[in-house]
């Protein structure tokens, strides 16, 4: 394991300290917690947005804190959902009386911990609503299992629900637009090489020198298929086709596209993927309103990428364009 760290059991703490040190005017840590909030939290007359999850997905989630996006992020241990008490601390810290909105990615751990936190909050009469993001089309959508995972599409939920809240919308309105995003966003990823949880010290899976895994999750959970590495164009084609096979996007429809690097993929390669995704969509007459290329939802140093497509309407376009002062997402 080659990492630039101190104690592997202390990486989250060191990271939080380093983040606060970097952005003392933007971010604040709630003392003795793993909760980072907007420095001006609680913001009066605004629904507060909280996201979070395991660490290792940076810039998610704390990088999305800021005017126009999140009010707080709860950071768990690496790839481990934060605990209800920590989430509850975040809820208390950002609540200004207009209600608190939780953005949860659909993993058993995240759902359980956030739900328990919501129960704690409700017991203290704090209005809490939530959305569960499940954009990963690599997983079959089954009512029997936990269902689809939440991956990079979550960033669109942060952005759009955040913009809605910033405009003074009610908790119900924020929830409703967040649900609209969830309904209209799909993602799928792939990896060329694994990552190593610092405290585990060993890679989370193995891929042969000529192998890739299509449909992998952001913690290294299994994908759809392992096969020989193909060209960027074929990879882009496969991810895009799978997404378009799952959501009804027609000619003249407008979309936002996100090409997300999982950690070790050079930006150059993300643009190469985008080149093909753009071509495929354009050929189908789908209109690309906005494209995001970069690292938005990573998996430590995993090599690979994901493609997310969000179908837009006028409201979503307007909210996507709204200003954001989040550290990792300025617009």
């Amino acid at each position: 394991m080659k990492k630039i760290i101190n104690d592997p059991n202390n990486v989250v703490n060191d990271m939080i300290n380093g983040m606060i040190a970097a952005y003392p005017h933007d971010l604040r840590q709630i003392p003795n917690t793993a909760v980072i909030v907007r420095s001006d939290a609680p913001v009066v007359n605004k629904v507060a947005l909280i996201s979070g999850g395991g660490s290792g997905h940076e810039p998610a989630h704390a990088g999305y804190i800021g005017r126009g996006m999140l009010d707080a992020a709860v950071t768990g241990e690496v790839f481990t959902s934060p605990t209800p008490d920590q989430i509850f601390e975040a809820i208390k810290a950002v609540n200004s009386g207009n209600g608190v909105f939780l953005i949860i990615k659909n993993y058993t751990g995240d759902v359980l911990n956030f739900e328990m936190a919501a129960e704690l909050a409700e017991a203290e009469d704090i209005k809490v609503e939530k959305v569960i993001v499940n954009d990963d089309v690599a997983v079959e959508d089954s009512s029997y299992t936990i269902g689809r995972r939440g991956i990079a599409g979550t960033v669109f939920v942060h952005k759009i629900a955040g913009a809605k809240a910033e405009k003074g919308a009610s908790l119900e309105e924020v929830k409703s637009v967040a649900e609209k995003v969830v309904k209209n966003v799909r993602s799928m990823g792939m990896a060329l090489s694994p990552c190593t949880v610092p405290a585990a010290g060993k890679p989370s899976f193995k891929l042969a020198e000529d192998e890739m895994e299509i449909g992998i999750g952001i913690h290294g959970e299994a994908g759809i298929e392992r096969k020989s590495i193909t060209s960027a164009d074929k990879i882009a084609g496969e991810l895009t086709d799978r997404i378009l096979g799952d959501i009804n996007i027609n000619e003249e429809d407008e979309v936002a596209v996100m090409i997300n690097g999982l950690g070790s993929t050079p930006e150059m390669e993300l643009y190469i993927i985008n080149n093909k995704v753009n071509e495929i969509l354009t050929e189908k007459g789908i209109r690309i309103y906005k494209t995001y290329v970069g690292e938005f939802m990573t998996a430590l140093e995993m090599t690979g990428c994901s493609v997310s497509i969000l179908k837009l309407d006028d409201e979503l376009k307007q909210l996507l364009d709204a200003p954001s002062e989040a550290v990792a997402f300025r617009s």
Binding site: T83, S204, H219, E221
Partner: protein, 207 residues
């Protein structure tokens, strides 16, 4: 035999030892059908449980279980944190009545814990989770009239190993579908250590 406060504390100390010893093993199980953190999560949690329990005086087994539950809930995280937390919290509530706990009450406690996990996890036996250890153990307790440490050991180990054969439909392992078959479920393995620790406490109590 009855479970007294000291026995309950010793139980958690033994769980902690076993989890610590098998931390890498548990993580390696999670490496195969999960995200490589189960051993780390459990070790962090039970270490804190033991710290917590050693710093306080307890009057009832229920209080011990409650503090353990709350600590697990706030220190483990992931899926297993709320689940084990819920398990011991329900256990605590079910045995609230008495200072020490006889076999019958203990059995009720275990059953209650299992129900808690199922409810919290929206899951049931046969889905390749910790439930596949807790559920046969509860059945075993319900079949017996008194603590049977040797058989408990056997039952829980067998249950853990049987999770190999199951295809996961809950938790992170469910993404691995057929490929989850052939591998022990991490949460089942840590549950086994919980019952192995219990068996040892019971064995020592018998002497």
């Amino acid at each position: 035999m009855e479970i007294k406060v000291e026995d309950a504390i010793k139980w958690f100390e033994k769980i902690n030892e076993k989890i610590k010893l098998n931390k890498e093993y548990l993580t390696s199980l999670d490496q195969v059908i999960g995200d490589s953190d189960h051993g780390i999560n459990m070790a962090r949690g039970f270490e804190e449980v033991v710290n917590k329990l050693s710093a306080k005086e307890y009057g009832t087994v229920s209080e011990v279980l409650k503090d353990a539950a709350m600590t697990l809930m706030s220190k483990v995280g992931g899926a297993s944190g709320p689940l084990f937390g819920t398990a011991f919290l329900r256990f605590s509530t079910a045995v609230k009545v008495k200072e020490s706990v006889d076999f019958e009450t203990f059995t009720l406690g275990l059953e209650s814990a299992l129900e808690g996990v199922k409810h919290r996890g929206k899951s049931t036996a046969g889905e390749k989770t910790m439930i596949d250890v807790w559920s046969p153990v509860v059945d075993f307790f319900k079949r017996e009239n008194d603590f049977q440490p040797d058989e408990l050991l056997y039952e829980s180990r067998t249950a853990m190993e049987n999770t190999k054969e199951i295809m996961a439909t809950k938790g992170r392992a469910s993404y691995f579908k057929e490929n989850s078959i052939g591998h022990i479920d991490p949460g089942a393995a840590s549950s086994y250590y919980i019952f192995e620790a219990l068996a040892e406490v019971l064995q020592e109590g018998e002497k």
